[in-house]
Symmetry: D3
């Protein structure tokens, strides 16, 4: 659950909070559902009106849910949107959440994966507790055994890794099961425990990753530039082991909400691979355009439809009112 001051107020000025539900994997699932995919989301919420509201919201996007009713609270984060030179701000209040109390053995992965083609997880989950990191591994073993395509978003958040392990001690063991990986070069040492030399190009780095994790088939990475809190450019690259594809750049002149832009990109990659397989340029352009549109949408979840993403890929600038 995200709590944000309305309009452009700071947290300290708020007399009320706007309420959004989201989370890394939830955002990907909801976005894929809005793009027309069948999705399922596995989580835990407390047995109260706050927990059920979060689930209702996921259902409203058409996401099927498998929910453990447990624990006493839903994780919260406070988000203060930035403006111009003032950066956005996240205050996490996630400790003790129902989700963080999921343990191995609680979830029947076999039946969940029964008709599934794809499993996606995020480094945020592995950051929350050792139990959750083990649950990730448990799921990855089953998914991998059942032949699902597996993707991960490294999503490194230093303030969340508090249970005594570093990301670099945990993540490599989990990334080895993945076919598709979203990360940036700054993740190399921090999340993947792979040393870089200063002269390494993107290609060299991603090749190192692929050697370390031979199951990897696709690495994707996004970049921001010319940025302040209200505007920035974005672009992305995709490495398929042989070729580096580069997306169009978008200059997002008026950011509405950048939270979830990475999840929107990830959902775009998953959708793209399922639709266009080997057409990596199209996959990448779709994901980048999806992420671009997310910046214009309030909340964590990308509400853009396939039609809207495709229009932007095709060159629409946003300047004509659609009637």
């Amino acid at each position: 659950m995200r709590l944000s001051p309305p309009a452009q107020l700071r947290l300290s000025q708020a007399s009320n909070f706007d309420l959004y539900y989201g989370g890394a994997e939830a955002n990907v699932a909801a976005s894929l559902s809005i793009l027309g995919m069948d999705t399922q989301f596995i989580t835990a919420v407390p047995e109260n009106a706050i927990g059920s509201s979060a689930i209702n919201r996921m259902r409203s996007y058409g996401v099927a849910t498998t929910v453990l009713s447990q624990g006493s609270r839903l994780g919260i984060y406070y988000f203060e949107a930035g403006a111009s030179e003032r950066p956005g701000k996240v205050i996490y209040d996630r400790s003790g959440s129902a989700f963080s109390e999921i343990k191995k053995g609680m979830i029947d992965w076999e039946s969940i994966f029964e008709n599934a083609d794809w499993f996606h997880w995020s480094g945020i989950t592995a950051a929350l507790s050792l139990d959750l990191a083990e649950v990730c591994e448990e799921a990855l073993l089953v998914a991998s055994g059942m032949g699902l395509c597996i993707s991960a978003d490294l999503n490194y958040r230093p303030s969340l890794w508090n249970y005594g392990k570093k990301a670099a001690e945990i993540m490599p063991n989990l990334v080895q099961y993945c076919d598709v990986l979203l990360g940036g070069i700054e993740d190399s040492e921090i999340s993947l425990d792979i040393r870089l030399s200063p002269s390494d190009t993107n290609e060299i780095i991603f090749n190192k990753w692929m050697r370390a994790f031979p199951k990897l088939k696709t690495i994707v990475s996004t970049a921001r530039f010319n940025a302040n809190a209200s505007s920035n450019g974005i672009s992305a690259v995709l490495w398929d082991g042989k070729e580096m594809f580069e997306s169009k750049s978008y200059n997002i002149s008026h950011i509405v909400d950048r939270i979830g832009a990475g999840d929107a990109f990830m959902a775009g990659i998953i959708y793209g691979i399922l639709q266009w397989q080997d057409d990596s340029q199209t996959v990448l352009e779709f994901a980048t355009a999806a992420s671009c549109l997310k910046h214009s949408i309030l909340g964590d979840i990308n509400l853009a439809t396939v039609e809207e993403v495709v229009a932007l890929m095709g060159g629409a600038s946003g300047s004509r009112v659609v009637r």
Copy 2:
């Protein structure tokens, strides 16, 4: 009636809608009234609180109203404002509106035009029903007979032309009565049934129009450039049959609401001609500045005053707080 999600929410996120009243001709009338002109607006609304609220709003701007109380509903459109690369979106819900049920003979044009100097109508009205197109003609005949100056905004909206006629079959018959016309070159074939060749310049095109409609004395046209949904440049031209006047360009860096910018321009042209007659450059600059200011104002109606428009024409950049 316009229904819009508050702040920057999408339609699907709204738990409430902001409410604005507007419509092509209503916007022109309200804008002229705010500029200090005596105006009268002719329409039909249902006999309920929604209908009377629309009329109350027009009265609050000082517009005199002639209202048929009939039918069961007020036409609605839903408007989702765009942002950056995400375009704005209009969903029309106008079918069966009280306005669309006006028929010939219902309105006493002679008495309405008694003390009037000017009659303005829009292509949107002619698009709604064959009856309304006939009502337009009925009014145009009377207005023309009584010597009023007549203006039209072609305002082509493909999704509204649903009654079996094309714009090009209806509009030329109505445009022949006009002295002043607002349109773009894309209207030439679609609305005016006038073929163009690829090499035609604006001057050639507008000359073709004037030959086709010899009563026309002034043609005006606006342009947007460097646009996404949040910012664009605007400029305009005026053709008086002999000379092409070009306005200053404005770079609108932060669009608040672009709906009604054309109506604001039209009102500016009418105001300008009534004030400055043959000083076409001043007429055009006034209208362009008025349209520019409309982009900074929420709702369909341009609330800018003469003083504000003139200040912008005179070079004020908007950067100084007026105290």
Copy 3:
């Protein structure tokens, strides 16, 4: 879709509208879903953001949906809540809705009813168009043939019967398929075409109904008393052909929103019969308590849970904060 002024404003004062989704059958389905039943809702919505938002809302309550994408608009009603001596006010704006354009043959009732136990419909549907009345009959024939329990809410709304037939000409043909009926004695002549004599007691009246519609097993009816727009008492009766059960009375001192109270009652009856079959007193008390709680909830849909309804049935007065 309901549009209501916020707080206690009148329609003519609104500068924005609160947005609720509802409708007679939708309310029953959502309420049953919240009570824990598997439900499915059949409707038609236009293929735009307004239509899909309505569906998303139903999904958020856990209702499965079968949706025809057609037509150009979602039916609207404006609701102005009353206060004290000022009555609430509904302005219907439903003509031309996607729902009203459903015709026989569009819906595959056999597959919809495949695993269903119960079919519920409302007199509002039959009021909207002759086509819809025929669709009702089509569904009733299939449901009846497949052995579903069938319930109806007579829900007579004079302002909706506009297609040239009277309720009394249409409804009896549809009511003959029903096992459970919600109506008041004022419906007898208007909806059921059954004459009453002034001395007829409730028992006599309901017996006449049962003789006219021999499939009927249960008739339920609600009453309001000591009422103004802000407070009233409610109670209900249930006639099983032999005995007249009377519910507790509730004095609702501060009505929040009375729209949908009948639908909440209907859902309570369905839930009750499925839970407690022949224990008619419990069925009736559950439904009455459910309806009572609806009056305290904004929007058309009863959000009360089984636990909350049972607590009220058991004598909780609402005075203790549940912690």
Copy 4:
């Protein structure tokens, strides 16, 4: 201009204020206009956006306005609605208002009254400055000379009489011109300078008034009982010099906003006399029902229509939703 905290917040909790325009005479004029009468309102506002907004609001109700553009501010009052045992609270911030700077000779009463039948004024105006009291007299002389029917609401507000005169020194001179007077027995000494003895009945008191002001034909007075800030009963009496008419009592169980209830009553009396002349019982019942409905409406102005007032007079309790 009224500034009120939203919902049920206290002034000290507000981070925003709801904005209503009103004032004793403005409320009467707007209410009469909504009841279908032609009305005109004379005032002064500063030449800025706040002043013109107040005028726009009056125009939206259909009130014609004669406005002096002068001064630097619009009078304000802050209103905190009460609840149960906590009384409502008004903080006046009216000193130095444009209205209070009107002086004799500024207004051309002859032309204003040209086609008028009735002139209404309130004791609040006379309380604001000696100049305004003189303007009242000026207007009364003209109105009286031109044969208008004249009404006054004594409206005694101790905190407003700050210019060195007591109400009893000013008001009698003005009341002498009136045909219709709204006041309570507590006004007798304070406003009218007429001594009472403890045993005086209403009839005796009103007879004393009529003797003191022989032009008076009708005295009306309202009463509240069983009251806290959220609910009260109301009733009213009318004395025509011969007979004391008593209205029905209304028990307003949920007050929405009681400000302007007296003005709504006054407008009802004026409307009633113009409609039903000598049928004093009907006049009184109409005014009392109008005042009752005002309690259910936010803002200073009674938005009830003739149809709504007549329905309440006729016994409608507010309990049925009007569809």
Copy 5:
């Protein structure tokens, strides 16, 4: 921090939450400060914008604060206001709060109590952790040694006692230091470990308490009656060891917010004893009137002034607008 849906929405309907700061002791401190007393509040908040906002709010009421900056979160509770038969609902989300991590030795009670006359604490603090119960004892020992008058509110909340001790095991040890105690007869066994026999009158019970805790000089207790979620009566008693004082009853017909009514009462008792010492009837009437007014005020904190409380004690009904 309290998060509440706006207006009368349920938690599951909220798209935003109103934000109030409060807590048992904070409410008492703020209320006393508003009544004109010098107060100091001791707490712990996380070092972020949420924590500092809570402190800013206390400062705005004029409360001096001693704050430990520690921990990662501020305790939250969600509050859904009830209506009529639907009870209000509190969902606690307090585990892991900065406050619950205060331990013995962290606070320098000697310097805090240096110029203080009174120390107040609540059973909610003792319920949160064994550490906090020990901190209470630590403070009580110092306060008692320094001769402060000590008061406690038993405030039993079953859902908060989760650390393995029962209230009856902890509270008696702390209550022994108190001079003034607020509790109800249901607390006798649960909080104070004192058995009752069914025939015990209030006097007998309170005498048992005084025998068990000989330092007690004053016991106060409040009662609600004729209650649903929107209205109830209240009254209170005070036992001074010899005489049972009974307050006036108030019928609160329209409850705005009942949270904090007990804290408002407690603040009234403290204020009353400091003002009127032995005049127990006045003390009790002041506290009861203060608590009555709290029901009309949104948020946890009683914003009523001495003037307002005294007016209610003196018989003002809330029916007259204070101008």
Copy 6:
């Protein structure tokens, strides 16, 4: 008190106003308090809920207050934020404010300045009344005698100088006591009565000022460029009598609220001098960065913390979300 329409509405569109408290000196005091300084603010407010709310707001920022309770109103200004080419607009409604009624002798400056190091005042105070100009002089004499460092912001507002004196007649007498002065070259003749020749550079001008006011040690001045109402660049200079320091430029692409940017700069200068004395470049960079951040914050008061200002000085662009 500032009243502003919400979102981007114009004043004439508002149905409610957002409420902010501020004022030139109040903004400086609050900003310094948020930066961690002990501050005290001297003012006068009426003895009502509006006055005490203003004081509560100052207290919430940690500002100590010395308050005269007097007069009948709090000064108001209406602020309509601009957008793109539409300038922001201020309507002052300050006449007759409690503050403007402060007179010499009412304030005990000796005790106020007892432990103070710095006194700051603004030209707005001197503009409001001759009495206030004299109060300024009274304070300056005491402050100067007690050895406080004194700063002033010339803050010339032509529409406020209405009491018959020009700024140039009043200000020089007050500026002579100052050590630090904020002003622009346009102030030279208007506020300081110092003639300029067209060829004067900034250095020459500021030297003239220092010769005229020999106590001056530091002159600071800010500039805007490339500006419309939604975006501009800012930079500043500091003259210490010998050297002209120039700050970094910031391009503020999305202005949230520019009111108070000068006060934020002034607070930054005071904070900077107290922290870094002779390191004029650091002082200036801190103040400029503080002012830059103010543009991103709603309301009059700069809520930026030292940590945030220092991060911006250090090169943070606002583009990274702080987690």
